[in-house]
């Protein structure tokens, strides 16, 4: 060992020193590992952007999700839009909008040549007057087109995203809270309490979910809150089982015995010592539950049991889109694109989190 070699590595310990200043928790470690996983990190960023766009987007589209324009039904994406003003005796002129593709239908009484000429003038941006009507090209655009009632699809997709994400997260939150507490209490107390609690879970598991939801909807009417309750009531079961299993394996660890021997109450032990230790699996399962719940919501909407119209959700939009896909494909493509990319990102994120939180199980 010469002096030269000793002087070569002066900064390595310095960096360590700074990092060690307050200790690195296992959560921070997991966060470092997640950051190294490009796909998962990309998914996280994508998902956050999707959420922001869904929440703020509708403010900037210029339309509301429920505003109909019957004369502009099923207009294709980016189709030029013509404003038609009808002057009414003793009243304000009535204004409505048409798609460029349906403008010729306005002049069916004219000969084909005349019709072509009028349409060409409108296309050039001139204001054309015919009888009580005047037509002119606007700069308005429906970026994703409109649906069968002339509603702006972009707005509906974004608002639908809000609903789908809200259902996804709220129902997941409900299921996580109930599932974790239920599983932790059952697992920690064990014995008869455990048996009773887990048999209840088994019974609920055995019930046919769709039938229950249909019954609930029929009895109480279609209701947004009911949708949360129905989905949450089903999703917590698996969570409870996972958490119970983890708690049982943890509760014989010495740190739990040490906590008992220090005089901590059962409540403190469950909340402070056991639950933080099962949060890894819980977080992983949660990120995989959110897409599950969103799919479930879509299935229910597809069956006509989702949010009541005119409210939209991705499931409801897909249902609409599937019905009209032969004539207006965009009504299916855009919601499907948003929905599936979100589901993908959540699943990638879930996989990444599993690798990050449980480094022993990861492939590399």
């Amino acid at each position: 060992m010469s002096i030269e070699t000793a002087t070569v590595v002066p900064d390595a310990p310095v960096i360590q020193e700074a990092k060690l200043a307050s200790g690195t928790s296992l959560w921070q470690d997991a966060w470092y590992r997640l950051q190294r996983n490009r796909l998962a990190l990309g998914s996280l960023v994508f998902f956050c952007m999707m959420a922001v766009v869904c929440v703020l987007g509708p403010l900037f589209t210029g339309y509301t999700y429920e505003q109909t324009e019957l004369s502009l039904k099923a207009s294709a994406p980016l189709e030029p839009i013509i404003e038609r003003t009808e002057s009414v005796k003793n009243g304000a002129p009535r204004r409505s909008y048409l798609g460029l593709s349906s403008i010729e239908d306005e002049f069916l009484e004219k000969s084909p040549e005349e019709r072509q000429a009028v349409v060409a003038r409108i296309k050039r941006g001139e204001v054309v007057r015919e009888d009580r009507f005047s037509y002119h090209l606007t700069r308005l655009k429906h970026r994703f087109g409109t649906d069968a009632l002339g509603r702006d699809l972009l707005t509906r997709v974004l608002v639908g995203g809000q609903i789908s994400l809200a259902v996804g997260f709220a129902a997941t939150l409900v299921s996580v809270v109930i599932g974790v507490l239920w599983g932790a209490v059952a697992g920690f107390l064990g014995g008869k309490v455990d048996t009773v609690m887990m048999r209840l879970v088994d019974i609920l598991y055995a019930m046919p979910f769709t039938v229950i939801v249909i019954l609930l909807m029929v009895t109480f009417g279609r209701n947004f809150i009911l949708l949360f309750v129905a989905i949450g009531a089903v999703e917590w079961l698996t969570m409870a089982r996972i958490v119970r299993g983890q708690i049982i394996s943890l509760k014989h660890q010495e740190f739990v015995e040490a906590a008992v021997s220090l005089g901590l109450s059962e409540r403190t032990i469950i909340l402070r010592h056991l639950i933080p230790n099962v949060l890894g699996p819980v977080i992983i399962y949660t990120t995989l539950t959110v897409p599950d719940v969103m799919l479930l919501e879509a299935v229910l909407s597809f069956l006509g049991l989702g949010v009541p119209p005119p409210m939209s959700s991705w499931g409801a939009l897909l249902d609409d889109g599937a019905r009209t896909m032969e004539t207006s494909l965009w009504l299916l493509v855009f919601p499907a694109l948003f929905f599936s990319s979100t589901l993908f990102s959540l699943n990638f994120l879930g996989d990444g989190l599993r690798d990050a939180l449980d480094p022993k199980s990861s492939k590399d």
Partner: protein, 336 residues
């Protein structure tokens, strides 16, 4: 008047295979400032004895079926969960075998050190943190003010055991139960930890119950010893006398099994046979089936501890009636 007096403790486990009599009539006293060693092989009931005192035996399948454990006028075996909780960690603390698993990996050391204080004392977090730092300094951890904020995985095994000791002693208990605290550590660290416990004992006037299977540790560390076998105490007394004059064949055999005392080149001594099945009742001496001095009556007649000298008791029937005497190096010929 001893600080803690355990009388005729019986802890049974009711399992599918039958009733396992893990602890079957154990009595001992703990006194302030003294160290009591409890020695025995795996499954002899030494840990269960201590777990029973603190109410840590999982129930079911375990149940304390008899005995008393008097501490400050309270029977620990009969008092309520709430009462017991106030004693645990405050007046009687425990340290465990494996320091790698006895700290919660998700909480900072500071949080875990402060826990007993926040539970048992009316104290602010700031004040508790100061005490936590002091307690780390007391167990010889350098740079405690910074390290107190570390997580357990950033500590080595020996340091973690130091943290465990700091945690057990932070609320100044009167009794420390150490359940094989050095078994999972390497030899040099072992010596440091033992020295640390000794030092803390001197400073705080602690009564220490030291559970171990390492006779070497007992010899250097404990004033008096209870030798346990199959849930019973077979020999008890001052360490000096237990080693100088083993009276129970099990104690003698145990001492003979210490590798360090062995002649080089000769095969190591082992006690032939297996410990008895505790799920079957044992009317006589539990060691009888493995004992070189066994007579038919040994398996039938109940034995109790009887004084050999003022500070030495044994539960060997044949010794008690004077049929066998000095057992210091008795069995070599039997196994040869």
């Amino acid at each position: 008047m001893p600080l803690l007096s355990v009388e005729n403790l019986k802890t049974y486990f009711y399992t599918r295979a039958g009733t396992v009599r893990a602890v079957d009539g154990v009595s001992f006293d703990l006194e302030s400032g003294k160290t009591l060693g409890i020695v025995g092989e795996s499954g002899s009931g030494k840990s269960v004895t201590c777990y029973s005192i603190l109410g840590l035996v999982p129930q079911p399948p375990g149940r304390i079926v008899g005995g008393r454990a008097l501490f400050a006028g309270v029977d620990l075996l009969a008092c309520s969960k709430e009462q017991l909780r106030k004693i645990r960690g405050k007046r009687i603390s425990m340290i465990f075998q494996d320091p790698m698993t006895s700290l919660n990996p998700y909480l900072r050391i500071s949080e875990q050190l402060m826990e007993p204080l926040l539970v048992h004392e009316r104290i602010s977090r700031k004040h508790a943190l100061n005490r936590a730092v002091t307690s780390l300094e007391e167990v010889g951890i350098q740079d405690a003010g910074r390290r107190v904020h570390f997580y357990p995985h950033e500590f080595s095994g020996g340091m973690r055991q130091r943290v465990m000791i700091a945690m057990a002693l932070i609320s100044r208990p009167e009794i420390l139960i150490a359940d094989e605290p050095t078994t999972a550590l390497d030899v040099t660290v072992q010596a440091q930890i033992l020295e640390l416990i000794k030092q803390r004992q001197r400073e705080l006037g602690l009564a220490v119950a030291f559970i171990t299977h390492d006779l070497g540790v007992v010899a250097s560390f404990c004033a008096s010893v209870k030798v346990m076998y199959a849930g019973r105490i077979v020999e008890a007394g001052l360490t000096r006398e237990i080693f100088a004059r083993p009276c129970h064949p099990y104690n003698a055999a145990l001492q003979q099994s210490i590798p360090a005392l062995h002649e080089k080149g000769k095969p190591l001594f082992t006690i032939a046979g297996l410990p008895p099945d505790l799920s079957k009742p044992i009317p006589g001496c539990p060691f009888a089936p493995r004992c070189a001095y066994m007579l038919p009556k040994c398996q039938q007649t109940p034995v109790r501890l009887q004084g050999v000298t003022a500070h030495h008791e044994t539960a060997c029937l044949r010794f008690q009636v004077g049929e066998i005497g000095d057992l210091r190096h008795p069995l070599a010929s039997v196994t040869a």
